[in-house]
Point group: C2
Chain length 254, copies 2
């Protein structure tokens, strides 16, 4: 499975390299999740679908563009071809492709791959077998003095977000959830927190891969009430999220 996911992620990297940045943001349709599809999303998704087809369509596909493609397979690819589309389209060098393979629910994800499309780092996890960045084993960091959170902020954030941002020495936000979850997994950040009004909540395609990577690196992913996060693998699902590297973070932010 790892080889297939790497092949798909590489296909995304190559496809978007040939795209002029001035056209990357053109609206080319409406996605199954109700948000407009931009050219870069379409091109990236097509690249992945082509790889699957070449390999005999061994997976069903859940994606923003197609909702659900039933290939009669046991497992489903939960795909966000470009996570951080705003960044990608506006020249901010922080976005990724996110691929998870599982069934039914977030807890049923077995394999996960996130590729940083700027730096090229490949984050991969298989359930029960650990998380890796390229070939390096990932471990979340122990919570200590030099706190660094990523907190989603802006007009659609709930007030709680601003309270939490004040609790860290550094409160960052990079605008690509899948890659920020990987930063928690590799011990760059102590917390990723997103708590927003409905239209800014995350879709399962944004977090399916990153969630497994955090968990396999020793962290945990919750909803904002502190329940271990589990949602249906459905394109209509929207959720808040709180991912920590060390459970001590929960004490500090409550």
């Amino acid at each position: 499975m790892k080889e297939l996911l790497i092949e798909a992620a590489d296909a995304v990297s190559n496809a978007i390299k040939q795209l002029e940045i001035s056209k990357a943001g053109d609206k080319v349709g409406m996605g199954a999740d109700g948000t407009p599809t931009q050219r870069i999303d379409r091109i990236a998704e097509d690249a992945v679908l082509k790889v699957l087809e070449k390999n005999g369509n061994p997976l069903n596909v859940l994606s923003e563009e197609h909702e659900f493609i039933d290939n009669g397979a046991e497992y489903t690819l939960v795909l966000d071809p470009i996570d951080g589309t705003f960044n990608a389209v506006n020249g901010v060098p922080f976005f990724a492709t996110s691929l998870a393979v599982g069934k039914e629910r977030l807890s049923g994800v077995q394999w996960a791959l996130v590729k940083d499309l700027t730096k090229g780092t490949v984050y991969f996890a298989e359930k029960g077998k650990g998380a890796f960045a390229d070939s390096k084993r990932l471990r979340t960091r122990e919570f200590g003095k030099s706190t660094a959170f990523s907190v989603y902020m802006g007009a659609l954030s709930e007030d709680e977000s601003f309270r939490i941002a004040r609790l860290a020495r550094r409160a960052r936000n990079f605008g690509a959830a899948s890659l920020e979850l990987c930063l928690v997994a590799q011990g760059s950040l102590d917390l990723y927190y997103l708590h927003t009004k409905a239209q800014a909540k995350l879709r399962v395609v944004d977090i399916a891969a990153g969630t497994l990577i955090v968990r396999e690196a020793g962290g945990e992913v919750f909803d904002v009430d502190g329940n271990i996060l589990d949602v249906d693998l459905n394109i209509k699902t929207r959720t808040d999220i709180m991912a920590v590297g060390d459970m001590k973070v929960l004490e500090v932010i409550k």
Copy 2:
């Protein structure tokens, strides 16, 4: 001058590539600005000083490590060898080297170069001759509906920061001022805003290059009271900052 700055930035890229990330954050001394110097800062600064020496020391140097090196030159290199040290040391792919050449004050900066040390993009400006990313001319963006601010947040932020973060559809923060100023210059962001308690304010080495790049791209850089920013080129200087691509942003945030 451009060739010399490019040579210096390339020397930084090469020097830090050979550095193991696990050792990048070792404290190796105390800087002239009163913050500890980490190994990555030292290595990057030494690389720049070597390039200057090879070229006959044509510039004085203002830097965190050495305060002021008087080479009897007309102009001074205002150097932050690694801007975004926390990111660099903790595996967050967003940090830069920042080099500005000028005399006496921020307004006396004539040449500026910021290199994104992850992606490799080189931002360059010469006073009166425009700003460029690699060979592409930079223009700030017109303020419109899809607002994106970078607002520095955390325990040391002043309250005003949180008020402003709510005004944007997206409030990001990436943790490397020089590179965030370049994002304003290239029209990725509408605003860069940092308003903090004393110990988190910016040094002139963090902003000297980015400020010229924003101004040459059509934007402006202010203090948080709305005065055009100008400070002495002195390693002890600390300042808040507000950089905009379009003056309309000032109306929205006041």
